[in-house]
């Protein structure tokens, strides 16, 4: 293998890891939005998952327990949003924003003593026999850690559930026409709670992956807007788990390229390099929206509209 291509492989493999941070929350939000609830609090749930996953990982010396607790922390946080937007039918946009402010504040408060602490237990890569031997694709996709494999399984699983099962039909019906879903015998609010909780679990997973594997350290505000990029990626992915992969890795790629450029001591100011993921997301969201309009693929029709049985 030539030197250039090996650099490319290393870069791509790191793009996949960086993309995984975004892939979890994007998947979660796709499911939440499909069920008719918009949760803009991803950034808040992510950073709560990031901190509590990190602390647990450090206390238990286990990245796996840390990851699970991070997920759970994100999930529990999402229940605040679920309660306000589903049960109390409050404004979902503002509630999501409040959730982000809540998450950033709470983690600033509890994270104070952990700033710049590291998580020192490495999560080793596992080469999948056979698959990891495929040139280029093998080392990029199949010589990763267990959390990355977990995200692969989730993508396929969520796609399957969403489009090939009864549960998926019900889930999509919730977001398209909750009255009809209710008539089909779906318990609208209860289901929406579950799917919102699932979105929270995934956001927590993304955050925990960031602080336990990718970084792995804690800094105040470490998610740095990745939650908002995930919100944008949901649109890019047209609410389809399979496309979420492309979006997440694309941005993982931009992130690792700009990081490598900085490490290599380029003369481009770092501020302009750091801007790229956000600027690119901005441009891609515009492009995706234009494409969606042309193809008449829309947002789940009743996204953000609360459901109550007595309103007929």
């Amino acid at each position: 293998m030539t030197e250039q291509s090996s650099i490319l492989v290393t870069l791509s493999a790191s793009a996949v890891r960086s993309g995984t941070i975004l892939l979890f929350p994007t998947l979660g939000e796709i499911i939440t939005e499909r069920s008719g609830v918009i949760n803009l609090g991803i950034e808040g749930m992510m950073i709560i998952g990031a901190l509590f996953g990190f602390i647990t990982g450090n206390l238990t010396h286990s990245p796996y327990i840390g990851f699970l607790v991070g997920m759970l922390a994100g999930g529990l946080t999402s229940l605040i949003h679920a309660f306000i937007s589903i049960t109390l039918r409050g404004n979902q946009i503002v509630s999501g924003l409040a959730l982000t402010i809540f998450g950033l504040g709470l983690t600033n408060f509890f994270g104070q003593d952990w700033i710049n602490k590291k998580f020192t237990i490495p999560v080793s890569s596992i080469a999948i026999p056979g698959l990891s031997k495929i040139p280029v694709i093998g080392p990029v996709l199949f010589n990763q850690d267990i959390f990355v494999y977990f995200s692969y399984i989730l993508v396929v699983f969520m796609w399957f559930v969403l489009f090939k099962t009864r549960t998926g039909i019900h889930l999509r019906a919730l977001g398209e026409n909750a009255q009809a879903a209710g008539a089909m015998g779906v318990e609208v609010n209860k289901s929406r709670y579950w799917w919102t909780f699932f979105g929270g679990l995934m956001a927590g997973a993304g955050g925990a992956y960031l602080t336990l594997v990718y970084a792995p350290f804690w800094l105040d505000g470490i998610t740095a807007g990745r939650g908002w990029i995930a919100v944008a990626l949901v649109i890019f992915a047209m609410w389809n788990p399979l496309y979420a992969v492309i979006g997440a890795y694309l941005f993982g790629g931009i992130d690792s390229v700009q990081f490598q450029l900085q490490a290599s001591g380029t003369t481009i100011p770092s501020s302009l390099l750091n801007m790229q993921p956000y600027l690119m997301t901005f441009i891609v969201v515009i492009a995706a929206t234009i494409v969606l309009r042309k193809r008449h693929i829309g947002t789940p029709r009743e996204l953000g509209i609360p459901y109550s049985r007595e309103e007929k």
Partner: protein
């Protein structure tokens, strides 16, 4: 109330007595004339930004980008502050800086407005992403062309000369002329949204934009104007903060007020006059938050927890308001 209880639980969970902390917070916010003056200094940008946000929230246009518009206003106005002779008349210079701040914020706000109007691009996402872009633009200037060579590598601009500083209006405090801007803006926005046809049309757009379209309301024009006003005002807030308080451009110009102002606008039930009161209360929590961070080492994040919890309680409580109205109607 619920917000304060949740805040207390969080503080207590770290082994600090929440009552002592709250007492200190209130003292730091309203307990002395100095504390009160700091509260008003903090409330100033909140008043200004919230009043502008109400303009667009009324039409259900979700401008989450006050953070970025504020930064752009600060950058644009700094251009004049850093590039004019120290002998320029203060009135002229401050006017130019204000106009530049308004233009900076308005331009930054028009981008997502146009994207929404032309291609229906989700404005929550675009305004938010532009916040991060604006932050890095600021970083670019602070680490690049505008860094003061004498700052020893710190990302600070040159100190503004006195003619580029908004006058202090109360001796021995940091209360500056920006608060006068704030009060004027609140009154003007109040008149616009409650007493003019433009304000009425915008409310109709917010209620039902299909009906608004049938009624012959020009949604395109109204949205553009409202967003330009909202962003321009946020930009002006950025200008007043660097010109009135910080006296230079730097990374820490408190753009987070752009998010806090969203809370203020909602707690004020989108009423500009109520903004004056709510902004002082929230400004008090912020000023008190700094105070307890300094004297008790309670991290400032507690302020975010309290503010967001208050907002949760308000959002959750809206259902009871709706039900009461329903109930009356049925009778």
């Amino acid at each position: 109330m619920i917000g304060l209880i949740i805040g207390a639980l969080v503080i207590a969970s770290k082994g600090t007595n929440p009552f002592t902390a709250y007492k200190a917070l209130i003292m730091g916010a309203f307990g002395s004339s100095y504390a009160l003056s700091e509260t008003l200094v903090t409330a100033t940008p909140l008043i200004i930004i919230s009043a502008g946000l109400i303009m667009v929230f009324n039409m259900k246009f979700w401008n989450i980008g006050a953070y970025g518009q504020y930064i752009m206003g600060a950058i644009f106005s700094s251009f004049f502050a850093l590039n004019s002779a120290p002998t320029t008349s203060p009135f002229l210079l401050l006017t130019m800086m204000s106009i530049a701040g308004i233009i900076g914020g308005a331009l930054w706000a028009l981008i997502p407005a146009l994207l929404k109007l032309v291609w229906e691009v989700n404005e929550v996402v675009t305004t938010l992403l532009l916040n991060y872009v604006a932050l890095f633009v600021l970083k670019y200037f602070m680490y690049g062309p505008w860094r003061d060579p004498a700052s020893h590598g710190f990302p600070l601009s040159k100190m503004f000369s006195p003619n580029a500083q908004l006058p202090i209006i109360l001796n021995h405090t940091r209360i500056h002329f920006g608060i006068v801007f704030g009060i004027i803006i609140v009154l003007v926005i109040y008149v616009i949204i409650k007493k003019t046809r433009f304000g009425y049309e915008n409310r109709v757009i917010g209620e039902n934009n299909i009906a608004a379209n049938y009624a012959g309301i020009n949604i395109f024009k109204n949205t553009l104007i409202a967003m330009a006003v909202s962003g321009g005002i946020a930009g002006l807030a950025g200008m007043t903060q660097i010109s009135g308080v910080i006296h230079m451009l730097q990374l820490e110009i408190n753009p987070n007020y752009g998010y806090t102002a969203i809370i203020v606008a909602w707690l004020a039930a989108l009423n500009p006059i109520a903004v004056l009161v709510i902004a002082i209360l929230i400004g008090g929590i912020e000023a008190g938050g700094y105070h307890i961070q300094m004297i008790m080492h309670v991290p400032f994040g507690i302020v975010g927890v309290i503010e967001s919890s208050i907002l949760f309680a308000l959002l959750g409580g809206e259902i009871f308001k709706t039900y009461r109205i329903d109930f009356r109607r049925r009778r």
